[in-house]
């Protein structure tokens, strides 16, 4: 211990045979990143509290019977971590395979990349009933701002966190039901205009699979005209109030198609309000959004 208040207490650990030193409180996942080891994540995000439910980031820690979620477990002095052992590879492969076999991951290229990496084979479930259980649920389109397509939902809890304690404190949605029947829902599955939703769109910002997306994006995808490679992203400051939220305007053919905010931005942490997220229609008028009285 030193008396210097600015000194940082560090812990030393071994990751895949490599000695790593990180500040105390750093997660194993961050420690892996600092060691240049890429770890798949799904329910983790830098601007949300880890819920460690997806289990795709698990690593093997010497002395621990089960694998541990690297996103939530702090690195400890002397820890010996394996990120590429047979057990880790098997768990990551199976978790992705489980998800891929029951959920539409077409719009989650990052996950597909990892599925290829770990050799996840969703075809072996085709003979079973599961895909039919989840697929074919019509997207919920209840307004002109955003849609919810729960066939794409992997139940990562991110939208619930963003709507609740981690950002918006609106609590319009929660996980309902149990087990495989669990899903994200408003109370009694009422429509969004009838719910507590304030249309901040922070759930869209954190959704990793396109289960919640801008209506503009959805319409373009339906028309087979969604072209990320042709889109520009322009960073600007929201003009509605004096807070100074940074916006990223995604434009395609010179039209705004969606708005995000950088997760590492000091003002927003990636979160916006309805004005920043959706209040750009005056630039290019579309149908007026409606909300029931």
């Amino acid at each position: 211990m030193t008396d210097d208040p600015t000194s940082v207490v560090t812990v030393s650990l071994t990751i895949d045979g490599q000695a790593v030193e990180v500040p105390e409180g750093t997660s194993i996942h961050q420690a892996c990143e600092s060691a240049g080891i890429d770890t798949p994540t799904l329910c983790w995000a830098e601007n949300l509290t880890p819920v460690n439910v997806c289990r795709v980031c698990v690593v093997e820690v010497e002395g621990q019977r089960a694998l541990v979620p690297s996103c939530a477990r702090p690195a400890e002095e002397g820890m010996v971590v394996e990120t590429d052992s047979e057990r880790v590879k098997h768990s990551r492969k199976m978790v992705l395979e489980f998800l891929g076999s029951g959920v539409d991951l077409d719009q989650a290229p990052e996950l597909q990349k990892w599925m290829d990496h770990y050799g996840s084979d969703t075809s072996r479930y085709d003979q079973y009933e599961l895909p039919a259980l989840r697929m074919g649920e019509a997207p919920k389109i209840q307004d002109n701002l955003y849609i919810r397509d729960y066939d794409r939902c992997v139940l990562c809890y991110k939208c619930v966190e963003a709507c609740g304690d981690d950002a918006q404190h609106t609590y319009a949605i929660a996980v309902s039901g149990r087990g495989f029947d669990a899903r994200i829902s408003t109370e009694f599955d009422v429509t969004l205009p009838d719910s507590a939703c304030v249309y901040c769109g922070n759930c869209i910002g954190v959704c990793p699979t396109g289960a919640i997306q801008f209506k503009t994006e959805y319409d373009l995808r339906q028309a087979d005209d969604w072209r990320p490679e042709d889109q520009d992203v322009t960073r600007t400051v929201c003009s509605y109030c004096g807070v100074g939220c940074n916006l990223e305007l995604h434009t395609q053919d010179d039209k705004i198609v969606k708005v995000t905010s950088p997760a590492d931005h000091s003002v927003t942490s990636g979160m916006l309000c309805i004005k920043g997220r959706f209040g750009w229609q005056y630039v290019q008028p579309v149908d007026t959004p409606t909300r029931k009285a």
Binding site: V53, R55, V58, L130, Y171, G179
Partner: protein, 590 residues
């Protein structure tokens, strides 16, 4: 500060009265307008733990939780409706749609012990009579299952009236060791009047608490540690270590919790104790509170145990009146109160961190460990959580000392164990046996096998346990022998299956149980349980598994054991894999 947005539906007088009665005026609501209620995070958490009692009240009043009723609860407790709905839909005993058939709901058990006693036939009969039947996971009355008479476990969920079980009005006849002098934990069962503190004291009740107070908290913790007592809920964690850790925590409110959410299929020992010797549970929990310095005692009991709940509440009331609980419990100078909370039909809530979440008014989803309950338990405060059977052992330890306690059992498994004998045994019931008794002797104690056919398999430790075959009859019932031979004692289930029973049917049901009961939080368990169940259904239909499907069984088990959050996922594949490995499943290579 957030504002709750509540829809326009309102509660009727019946719902309002039921919720008010359940909540007993323990809160204040500031109304800002008709629809916006002053809230905020602190208010949200402040009364949140009353959500489960309030939902029970609504369910009981109308037979379902209506939008208006839910709104009333949400306004009163400052809980967002979406979250309250998420909680309500988590539990089997709550309905969020108006039921097609009004009135009481008859829950009939379809898990292993009742399944092989003829649950399917019983359900068909009841349905033909127009009874509102709900197929239920294990109801913890496995000793009632009888394949000759066709009796199976039933729990009636009341609407507008109380819930009930078969034992409500009849003395308990299914205890076969009554009066046995060697009993330690069950010595009062069938002997004491479970409704009378006077009778309990006449049979040695509250002598342990008196002894504990004389010893002092530290000496009690030491005795418990020296006795070698380990948790009887299934995980066998040393109780002394747990208690000392909580005792060492200072400066925050502390809790002791009796985990009475006995839901492991095949387990009913705690129910028998709570129904027939409830004061012992209250006394033991008081000793735990005294030893750990916790002022708050909680009993979380499964919703399907109405008689045990009533008996425990009666015991608390009488103990409070007699000064054995309260601000100066039994003259110890230690403040200790006990509150009962009922679960609502969710096996996962027996997992300790899920139990905390459920009690706090959240979905019963397990939390990651570490941090452990001894530092971050109920309300994130230091908590010792024990099974009733574990607690009963403490009464004994305090009186006869660690050495006296160790005179029974083996070096590594001291004391006695409660076993739940069911299936094809002549006298099913709960039995107290000394650790070291062999499995064969235990089956003999329960009258040996019944019906025709030879012993084929025994399910040890419940659905989360494992199957063993005849070669295990010489296995001493101890933690070390079970571990060495690759099985478990778990919660004390010993369920016998003869070769006239199709084990594949049982495996299908076990896999269905896990599919229904998974909380759904983590991917390996949420999807793995479904995949496992599908594989078993395919096996049942086709009579065998292809090598690809056989591989899938192993792959599913591996990821669930390695990557699930809690013990549920870690053990959900045990029974099926043990049966396959022992060659008990025709058509599947071991």
């Amino acid at each position: 500060m957030a504002d709750l947005y509540i829809s326009e539906e309102t509660a009727d007088d019946i719902e309002t009265a039921a919720v008010d009665a359940a909540l007993d005026g323990r809160f204040v609501v500031v109304r800002e307008s008709e629809r916006l209620i002053r809230a905020g995070t602190s208010a949200r958490h402040g009364h949140r733990h009353l959500l489960l009692p309030a939902l029970h009240a609504l369910q009981n009043a109308k037979g379902w939780i209506s939008p208006g009723g839910l709104n009333y609860v949400c306004e009163t407790l400052q809980v967002p409706p979406a979250e309250a709905y998420g909680v309500a839909t988590f539990y089997d005993l709550f309905r969020v749609e108006e039921p097609a058939q009004a009135g009481d709901v008859t829950h009939v058990c379809v898990d292993a012990a009742c399944q092989i006693a003829g649950a399917a036939e019983r359900i068909a009969e009841l349905k033909a009579q127009g009874v509102n039947v709900h197929e239920s996971p294990c109801l913890g009355q496995c000793e009632r299952a009888n394949h000759v008479t066709g009796e199976v476990a039933v729990f009636v969920q009341g609407v507008g009236g109380p819930d009930s079980v078969a034992a409500d009005d009849t003395p308990y006849e299914l205890f076969h060791q009554k009066g046995d002098e060697s009993l330690r934990l069950l010595k009062r069962i069938g002997v004491v009047d479970p409704t009378s503190l006077y009778s309990y004291r006449a049979h040695g009740g509250y002598e342990s608490l008196t002894a504990a107070i004389e010893m002092g908290p530290e000496a009690v913790c030491t005795a418990v540690a020296d006795s070698g007592l380990s948790g009887r809920g299934g995980a066998a964690f040393p109780t002394g270590i747990k208690w000392r850790a909580v005792a060492a925590e200072q400066g925050r409110p502390k809790h002791v919790v009796a985990n009475c959410d006995e839901s492991e299929p095949g387990t009913f020992k705690d129910r028998v104790v709570m129904e027939n010797d409830p004061f012992a549970v209250i006394e033991a929990l008081t000793v735990a509170g005294f030893a750990t310095g916790a002022e708050n005692g909680w009993i979380y009991i499964r919703g399907e145990y109405p008689l045990a709940t009533a008996r425990l509440q009666n015991a608390i009331d009488q103990a409070l009146e007699a000064g054995l609980l309260g601000d100066d419990a039994a003259g110890s100078g230690h403040r200790f109160h006990i509150e009962i909370r009922r679960g609502a039909g969710a096996y996962i809530c027996g997992e300790e961190t899920a139990l905390f979440a459920s009690l706090e008014g959240f979905r019963g989803e397990p939390r990651s460990k570490p941090p452990f309950p001894t530092t971050h338990g109920l309300f994130q405060e230091p908590t010792a959580i024990n099974n009733p059977e574990t607690l009963l052992n403490v009464l004994d330890i305090v009186q006869i000392g660690a050495d006296g306690y160790r005179s029974r059992g083996t070096e590594r498994s001291p004391g006695t164990k409660l076993l739940c004998l069911s299936g094809r045994v002549a006298k099913p019931g709960v039995y107290e046996v000394e650790f070291g008794t062999t499995l064969g002797e235990v089956l003999e104690l329960a009258g040996g096998l019944t019906g025709s056919g030879e012993l084929n398999a025994v399910l040890m430790g419940g659905a989360a346990g494992s199957f063993v075959d005849r070669s295990y009859l010489d296995m001493p019932i101890t933690l070390e022998d079970a571990r060495e031979r690759g099985t478990t004692l778990g919660s004390g289930v010993v369920m016998a299956f003869t070769d006239e029973i199709d084990l594949v049917d049982v495996l299908v049901r076990i896999s269905q149980f896990f599919r229904d009961e998974s909380c759904g939080q983590c991917v390996p368990c949420r999807v793995g349980c479904v995949r496992q169940n599908e594989t078993m259904v395919v096996l049942q239909e086709k009579g065998s598994l292809t090598s690809e499907r056989r591989q899938l069984v192993d792959d599913i088990a591996q990821v669930m054991v390695d990557a699930s959050i809690c013990g549920f996922g870690h053990t959900a594949t045990n029974a099926i894999n043990s049966a396959i490995k022992l060659g008990l499943v025709p058509g599947v290579p071991s």
